[in-house]
């Protein structure tokens, strides 16, 4: 999962992540717990998350 420069750090992704795999401080960061399920992509209000294929 890649988080691009659009990210503002609002934390919306973290609240919808089922794995608790997103940390937020100014920007979101995926931790090792991320399984690339891509759910967060849908909820990002600024199109900042890209799932790597």
């Amino acid at each position: 999962m890649k988080i691009n420069d659009n990210c503002v750090g609002c934390g919306q992704c973290a609240s919808f992540c089922k794995k608790g795999a997103i940390e937020v401080k100014g920007k979101a960061r995926a931790t090792d717990a991320c399984i690339d399920c891509g759910i967060c992509v849908l909820y990002c209000p600024v199109k900042a998350i890209e799932v790597l294929v």
């Binding site: 659009n6 503002v8 609002c10 609240s15 919808f16 937020v24 100014g26």
Partner: protein
Amino acid sequence: MKAIVIGAGLGGLLSAARLSKAGYQVDVFERLPITGGRFTNLRYKGFQLSSGAFHILPHGPAGPLAHLLKEVGADVKIVRSDITTVRIPLKKGSQDYEKGFKDISFTDFSTLLSHKDRLKIALLIVSTRKNRPTGSSLQAWIRSQFKDEWLVKFADAFCGWSLSMKSNEVPVEEIFEIIENMYRFGGPGVPIGGCKGVIDALESVIAAHDGKIHTETEVSKIFVENGKAVGVLVGEEAYKADLVISNLGHAATACLCEEVLSGEKDSGYLKILETLKPSAGIKICLAADEPLVGHSGVLLTPYAKRVNGINEVTQIDPGLAPPGKHLTMSHQYVAPENVKNLEAEIELGLQDLKEIFPNKKYEVLLTQSYHDNWPVNRAASGTDPGNETPIPGLYVVGDGAKGKGGIEVEGVALGVAATMKKIIG
């Protein structure tokens, strides 16, 4: 009559509820899977955090938003906060809270002034209601009247908390309109269920009047025919309507119909759009077993380095946290030049909280920042060009098009009410 609303944030849903109640067939298109925009709840570790706004209506059960909710028949319980307090250093002359502090009532702010200045402020409170100051920033106006840095600090905390601006960025006219609204409507309150309590109630109204909300549906174009807005494009499908309401702010709305908005005819409007600046801020969400603020209102912190104010919504609605827990949230203004240093700004905010709540146990749940395309306000308060656009039938609502003197969501409500008056009469 058909109406299309772009964006299911607070401004969009208020408009949709009002129009559907007036007999319009309403379709709301929302890009995200959730409604409410920056005014809904985010569930996190059992707490009801928020997607943006605090779970507060700045003017409580008597304010413009409460009034509009009542008018559309949205069933929301709003409970008035008991008090707003201001934390000041214990010792006169101290510039921080390190050596102790005390809390005073918001309305007692003038007790910290000299006798002469107290007298002057008493006179100004009366005289400015008739002759409002104009033509400068709030800070410049304060400095023209007083030589007292406390008043500037106090103004910065208030403007930071309520507008996410500094007192030298806020037009003095805007603040006096806000003060007038405080006389008129009173202080803040908390909607039961938080922001989502309001959003759910509005959705019920829209559904009851056969309005439709389409989530995960992005509008890519606004159709304009013979100079008038006539519908939108969603994917490959064209939706026709008699009017289009955009909750996206003026700039993003203009992008959806840019080929119609070029040329000399609209250059004035386009120039204003270039000047609109979104405001930035940071929210820090704390969880605690014992109350941190201890009352249901706002605690302003003018002597903190970054944090402007804090509130504890669980004092009014314990349902916003797991049983026995408190949810406490701080807000801090972020200066435009510091948006690139958000981590450092958050760190300063966290240090402030340690000073504001010494010897208290709490957990930092989440730090949330807002700027640029997902800001505190799409247009800084007092700067937007209103709800109309150069295109008849196309209106803008939301935090990019507020009424005058409207703090946060109260401004959104005033903007929607003004728009509805133009449309419905």
